[in-house]
Each structure stands twice: as structure tokens, then as C-alpha cells.
Amino acid sequence: MATVNLKNREIECKIVYYGPGRCGKTTNLDYIHRTFKKQVRGEMISIDTDGDRTLFFDFLPIGLGQIKGCDIKVQLYTVPGQVQYRSTRQLVLKGVDGIIFVADSLKVRREKNMESLKDLHENLKKAGLNILRIPLVMQYNKRDLEKTEMPLMSVEQMERDLNRQLRVPSFPASAVTGQGVGATLTQTLKKTLKYLHKEFQWAQE
């Protein structure tokens, strides 16, 4: 849960990038770190990354400045996608305010996307949160591969697989080129701040 300090007019909230292994979560964070220099508040920390595999999590603190009279700080996290790090994911999800589900557009990863969404649902439930209620945005990543001949799912198919019932905002993206990365994050922040306003009435008109 976000830290909301109405006296100092400060909000610090937590956004988690979730998704199967190798879908591009770390690459999203990398891109944000490199591109949104003005917003980045500190170093990107990848806690124990084994080769290129995130074992624990990545962390990047950013700041949005003043919004409606409040200073907004955001902590971005990624979870390790590999199936066996379930308890780590549960830990990283603690106190989450908004989620970006990064799905892999490669056809061979279709099932992994679905499994990971199910895992998210279950882990949220364990944390007393409801996937239908928490601010959630989908990202269909690796769309740059559309230009190649590689077997990719269509956005429509991914919508059917993952978003037919959730009906959350979704963005085609490429974390390597940066296409859609900012849009995904912006939309998530909007939803999250709106949600937090309902709870804490922090925004000044």
C-alpha cells in the first residue's frame, strides 16, 4: 500500500512489472532508466542477477513531481518470472498499488503468458487483493518482431487469451525500441493515482 502523507503532501506508490520469464520486464525498466532521466530519482538496482536472469527483482525509483498539489514518488519493481521463484514474487507484490502485466508476443510463449497471469491472480488473492479491482495494465511486448518473419501472436489473439474478461487497457510495445513503454507506464500511473485518490482523497482541485 502506498505511503500517503497528506500533511507533507507526499505520496509514494509501488508499481510492479509482472509476467513470464524473458518477456521483457527488465528491458522495460532499463529503457525507462535511460530515457526518462528527469524523472529518475536514483540508481536502477538489479538485486542479484545471475547472468541475464533476474533472480530477485529490479528496482527503479522515479518521481513525477507535483500533481494536484502532491509530490508523487513511484517505486518500480520487476519480479523474477521463472516459475520456481514464486515466493519471491509474493514478497515483491507486497504493498503493490498498480501492476503492469508484460506478455510476450512470441507464439512459443503463449502458454507461459497465461500461466503467469494465473499466478498473478493467485498471488494477489493471497495478498488479499483482487485482480479485477487493482489498477492493472497489459503490455504486449516484442512487437518489433512483427517486421521479421518470426512466429508472433496477433494483438487480437493476445487480447482474447489474456484480456477477454479483465478488459484492462492494453498496449502493443517494444521494450527494446521503447515503443509503447512510456504509454504503458503513464496509463498505469493514471489508474493508480485515481485509485489512490478514491482511497485517500489526496488530490487538490
Binding site: I47, L106, E149, R164, Q165
Partner: protein, 311 residues
């Protein structure tokens, strides 16, 4: 596309997966290409190609083995350790010291057992945290200590006045449970700490035709007939293939089985999928008693989803 082109294209695909760290996906394709070439004796450079591919397969296999190997508790810097402690400690305003507990447990979760244990032991002074702290020492301890060492930890508590007799008894039970769980795993031949990675594609299924049906985990079934008619029972799905779902019911649930008539339709069934709840109608396709095996005497029931209410 002629064969040479096809092979070239397949190898490109495999290399993409390899570059993305999708080792199993890459392996699958290289194996398929290998088989393709072996079936064709007329391919140019056949032997060179086969040698190249088999070298790739070896490399990928080695990568895969490395990935599967349970990683050692990684060394992390003091700075990273502070960060973990700080980021994952959550103050429960009603429980003094709860953030210290959370922080220490996070350290344990991230492999920093020795440090975590020190911090957890320092919480023994607080009545309301002592048991949680001790429980976590045991539960995370099994990943890092031998059974003997862990038992020794427990034995030291027995002479520690801060623990009451009741607490010692309860911790003894927890220790037993922890050891038993670990023992069971060891017998099954699985590594004690991380489960084997299944990031690969060994469990890939046929694609389901029935696009519309989500994974259902549980159904809520209104019993159609019998003395409990109208009562809604929740049953776990044994397996599902698109619209077909199968349930296994125990002997004790015979009344439920009897209530379902083969060929009958049941409306108002609730389907619980991991991401949504929806309702619809099912058809009882078959039911029978299981005649042999560990589930002998239980019942299996096949249902078919006829339709789903929208909205």
C-alpha cells in the same frame, strides 16, 4: 520454400530464441531441424550442418543445466541488504516491531540466512514476535542447514527461558513438520530448495479449440435431484480440455454423484476461473465408479459445457 530455405529459416528462429534466453524453445527447433536433415540424404553440406547443429544443441543443453542448478545463496552487498530490509518491512501499526520481523524475513527469503537469523533471534525478547521469529528461523533454516544442525538450533531454545513450555512444544511440532517436508522432497529425488525450473516448453499442450473457455479451477453446481436438490456444491476440476471438464468425487460424495443423471442438463452452474467468474449450463456426459488404482471406489464425472451466459 525449398528445404534449404526452410532449414535456414528455422535456424534463424532458433537463434532468436537462444538470444532471448528461451533455451528450451531454441532446443526444440534445433532438434526438429536435426531430424529434418537426417531424413534427407541429398542435402548439401549435410555432415557439416549436422555437426554445427549438434554443437548448438550441446551448448544449449549445458546452458539449461546451468539454469536448473539451484543457485547458491548469493553474496550481496551491505547496501543491497539494507535496501531489501527497508523495502520489504511493513509496519503494522498495531504490532510494535513488526517491520523488523518483515525485514528479517525478507533477508531470509533472499538467501541471507545468517544475517536474518541474527535479526530474528534479537526479536525473541518480544512476546508477540517470538514465535513468528522462531518459526521463520526453522522454515528458512531447512534451506541452509542440515537436519542435525536445525535440530540443534531448536534444542538450544529448550534451555532459553524466554520460551514457555507451550511454545517449545509448538516449535517442536513445527520443526518436525519442516523436517518431514524436506525429507519427503528428498525421497522424491527433488532438490530441497528451488524446484526444477520449468521455464521451458516441456509442458506445452495442444492448442485448445474452444477459445472461449478459460481455465476453470472450480465449479459451483446446483444439485439437480435427490434430497439435497437445489443445494449448490463447489467442486474442484480434475482436468479440463476446452469445454470438457472432468471431476473426481470421493466415496463420501456419493450423494452428489447420484444426484447427477447421465444425459441431464444443469443450468445455473458457476465457473470459477483464475481471472473471472462466469455462469452457464452443463451436460452430464458420463459418470462412473473408478475400478482400480489409488482412487478405486471414487467417482469420475465428465461434464460438457453447453453454453455460457455472457456478461
Amino acid at each position: 520454400m525449398n528445404l534449404a530455405e526452410k532449414i535456414k529459416w528455422k535456424i534463424e528462429e532458433a537463434e532468436l530464441y537462444r538470444n532471448q534466453g528461451l533455451i528450451n524453445e531454441a532446443l526444440d527447433i534445433y532438434r526438429a531441424v536435426d531430424a529434418m536433415i537426417r531424413k534427407n540424404s541429398r542435402i548439401k553440406n549435410r555432415e557439416t550442418l549436422l555437426a554445427k547443429i549438434s554443437a548448438r544443441i550441446d551448448l544449449l543443453n549445458r546452458n539449461w543445466e546451468n539454469l536448473k542448478a539451484p543457485s547458491q545463496a548469493p553474496e550481496i552487498s551491505d547496501q543491497a541488504r539494507d535496501l531489501i530490509r527497508e523495502m520489504f518491512s511493513f509496519d503494522d501499526p498495531h504490532v510494535k516491531g513488526s517491520s523488523s520481523l518483515g525485514g528479517a524475513v525478507s533477508l531470509a527469503e533472499f538467501g541471507q540466512y545468517d544475517q536474518a537469523r541474527k535479526e530474528l533471534e534479537s526479536l525473541f525478547d518480544y512476546d508477540h514476535l517470538r514465535m513468528e521469529a522462531a518459526r521463520n528461523i526453522l522454515q528458512y533454516g531447512i534451506r541452509h542447514l542440515s537436519s542435525k544442525e536445525l535440530t540443534l538450533v531448536y534444542q538450544q531454545w529448550q534451555s532459553d527461558e524466554r520460551f514457555s513450555a507451550d511454545e517449545i512444544k509448538r516449535l517442536g511440532e513445527i520443526l518436525e513438520q519442516v523436517l518431514e517436508n524436506a525429507g519427503r522432497k528428498a525421497n522424491a529425488g527433488a532438490p530441497a530448495a528451488p524446484e526444477p525450473a520449468s521455464d521451458g516448453s516441456e509442458d506445452r499442450d495442444e492448442e485448445v479449440d474452444d477459445e472461449d473457455i478459460l481455465d476453470i479451477s472450480t465449479i459451483g453446481l446446483p444439485l439437480p435431484t435427490g434430497s439435497r436438490a437445489g443445494e449448490k456444491v463447489e467442486l474442484d476440476i480434475n482436468f479440463q480440455n476446452g469445454r470438457q471438464i472432468n471431476l473426481v468425487l470421493s466415496k463420501g460424495q456419493k450423494e452428489i454423484v447420484n444426484s447427477l443423471e447421465t444425459g441431464g442438463r444443469i443450468a445455473g452452474v458457476i465457473f470459477y476461473s483464475p481471472v473471472a467468474i462466469f455462469s452457464g449450463t452443463v451436460y452430464v456426459a458420463a459418470k462412473k465408479e473408478i475400478g482400480s488404482g489409488p482412487k478405486q471406489g471414487d467417482y469420475t464425472v465428465d461434464l460438457k459445457i453447453l453454453h455460457i451466459e455472457s456478461g
